[in-house]
Amino acid sequence: MNTAFVAVDDNVVHESEVQRQHARLTLPARIKFHGPDREPFDCELIDLSAGGFSLSQPGTTLIVGRQHKGKLVFQVDALGFAIDVEFVVRSINDEGQRIGCEFQNLRPRAISALRYVITSYLSGGVISLGDMLSTQQRDNFTKPRKHESGHGMGILARVRATAVSLLMFLVGLFAFGYVVHQLYGIYFVTHAESARVNVPGQLIGLPRDGSVNSLVKVGSVVAKGAPLATFSASLLDVMKGNLPPGQATPENLERLFSRTLQGSLTSPCDCRVVSQLVPDGQVVGKGTTVYELMPIDGVATIEARFPYKNFAKIQPGKAVSFQLIGEEQPRAGKITAVALDNGGLASDLRVTIEPDSPLQTDQAGRPVEVSIEDLQGNVWVQSASAANAWVKNTWANKVMAAGK
């Protein structure tokens, strides 16, 4: 065969592509049956396959589509071996030269006998009666094994599964909410780098070189004019530079040195003592700040530092929320002023925030966490999250971080 030709010509189809369903074999066998008018037929087969057979009966009375019952007879070891078959006449060609029939409703036994005959014929084996009988005796067809592919659950198990699944789903939802909240915090909330409560205060300095002896406690309130502390200065220091040149004899100096001058520091306002910066008895220089005082009627604001890149988000009048260390509920406020830190160009933004509800002045100096929400109307996220303990914990962490 010319393979080159096969490759070129599209009309040539390789045989294996259009195979018959069943190979037709020329086997010595006969079919016996009754025709449409009860006339007996007994004729040689032209060929036989697993699906049907064909026979030759010129001038036939058979009708296409008619079903017949008959016996297929094989000659095995000089014995006639008959198989009961049903078949339908499918085609009549050349006026009965070739009548094609198809098996119908073959029983398992007939199938295995046919298969045995055809297989042995194909493989060139000899059909023996013993093999044929054993083929027929065997139960060649078994039902598929019954496999239970699993089943559902009882009511109790179902209820339990549903309940546990629902519970886990709720936990998942909660966790998801937390993740969304965190992402919101990262992308849509601007945080101050650091912030504290600020109250414009008064600083009390020491008028002379000397030591102080405090009369008030830190945190207590002092009225305007009330003494804060006494201070003692060495007379020598007071007189230093004022002594006439002739007087600076060692004896004079020694005398002056052992003398002290007493005085007192008074409060310039109705104030709260915020801190005492110099311990009692320590000798410090003139002008050193001793007390930090806070007017009682002073207004506390929040002072926060933001990176310069947040410029666009920090506008005076913008609402912010902040949280004081030690407090659980966040508070709200407004930006009142924005300035450069120390007035330099290489600095961050210093933002003054006025709280919506006044703060206690005794909270001055406390660290604060300030955040600006870019999307308004998301305040509910904050309030919802503030309600659970888990989140509180992180807040505390953050405030600590801000405090550092």
Binding site: T119, L122, S123, P144, R145, H147, E148, S149, G150, H151, G152, M153, A157, R158, R160, A161, T162, V164, S165, M168, F169, V171, G172, L173, A175, F176, Y178, V179, Q182, L183, I186, W390, T394, N397, A401
Partner: protein
Amino acid sequence: MAGARDYLREAAGWLFYVTALLGLALLLPRSVFDPQSRDFLLLLGAVGIWRYSMGAVHYIRGLLFLYLVFPYYRRKVTRLGSIADPSHVFLLVTSFRIEALTTAQVYRSVIEEAIGCGYPTTVVCSIVELADELLIKALWDSYTPPEQVKLSFVRIPGTGKRDGLAHGFRAISRHVPDADAVVAVVDGDTVLSAGLVRQTVPWFKLFPNVGGLTTNEFCEVRGSYLMSEWHKLRFAQRHINMCSMALGKRVLTMTGRMSVFRAQVVTDPGFIQDVERDYLQHWRLGRFRFLTGDDKSSWYSLMRLGYDTFYVPDAAINTVEHPPEKNFIKASRKLMFRWYGNNLRQNSRALHLGVRRLGWFTSLVLLDQRVSMWASLLGPSVAIIASLKYSIAYLLIYVLWIGVTRLILSLLLLASGHPVGPAYPLILYYNQLVGAMVKIYVFFRLDQQSWTRQKTKLDRGLASYQRWFNTWSSRAMTFSAGSVFCALLMWIV
């Protein structure tokens, strides 16, 4: 010449990989380590120690077995000589819908092996189609086997490999094998190398409590470069793991490709039952039957029946891998879905066998398999979260870290004797990441199983509520687990 070209290409690949790593190192900012929260570094360290120590233990155990313990055993077996001969060898081959060329290769090797091993041997063919039977008969006739070698057929409907195996085992039972007989179970696409039976069979005499053993595996992949490297990497890793587990005689899988069992085991009705209709009772998904993973079922049965399992590293089989898809990602995802599904389905009930049966190390390994996927995702997740919260540098550090560690891991695989290519570090990481995600997906969908080669799925005929509930709850569980994982990390980082 071709060899030199291959070497050059490999070398270029490695150079490219190392250059990329160095470039990454240069990209890093000078002062990167300034974390605002140190908790997560601690967590990352702890998880890292756990993961790497687990790997290191496997590695050391594997090498110990491969280079010290096994040669010692091998000498012992050789000394046993003909005392270790089995009374009869059964070679059970299951074929279904495998192309004729492969089938011919497989059966030729099996028949040659049956004749060559010199023991009384029966080749049992569990097949579906008549064409296979004719083919095998023709091959058989062409070899004219000696008296002691016999051929036996089991023809069954093509309802799956588990049925094929079960019918094959029953056919072997009908031969009434004695206590010394062994059965080698060979898959329809596995070509045996010469002398395999002689290498594997004597171990049953040396270790009276070993019920089954399995062998080393090399593969030829009919697919792209990446696909074939991926398979080879898996086999190299498998080799080390199997060796490690073999040290305690607890090899965790009886490969369907080629495993050898005691005939006693295989003819045990309980064992056949397990292989044929294994099922799992799940608290949420109800009861469902296993379709795939006969290798895991047989391992579980052996453990339950009180046998040990063993691995023979110097006996190897060659398999032809046909990836289920052209696309590497799709194909690997499908295969992982199948493998990890089989693994996890087996895992929970295997743990129920208890520490006393399995031993501490095996229990630990099984437990590790259940949770390792979350640990695998921990690194990248933390890196991403930290890069969102603090600085992109964290992601860069992480990528560099991964690049360096995977490089070292790939080089360590050289000790397994399997070839190592420049794509290995990347594939290693791909495996870790995608593998973990597939594992998590499968973990909540244990009832979903499908063959890669034959598209058979289990129709459980469940009531509509149950079906709806299974789908919904599987999704809900995956969602919850993922959310809780992310939330925990966001909280810590």
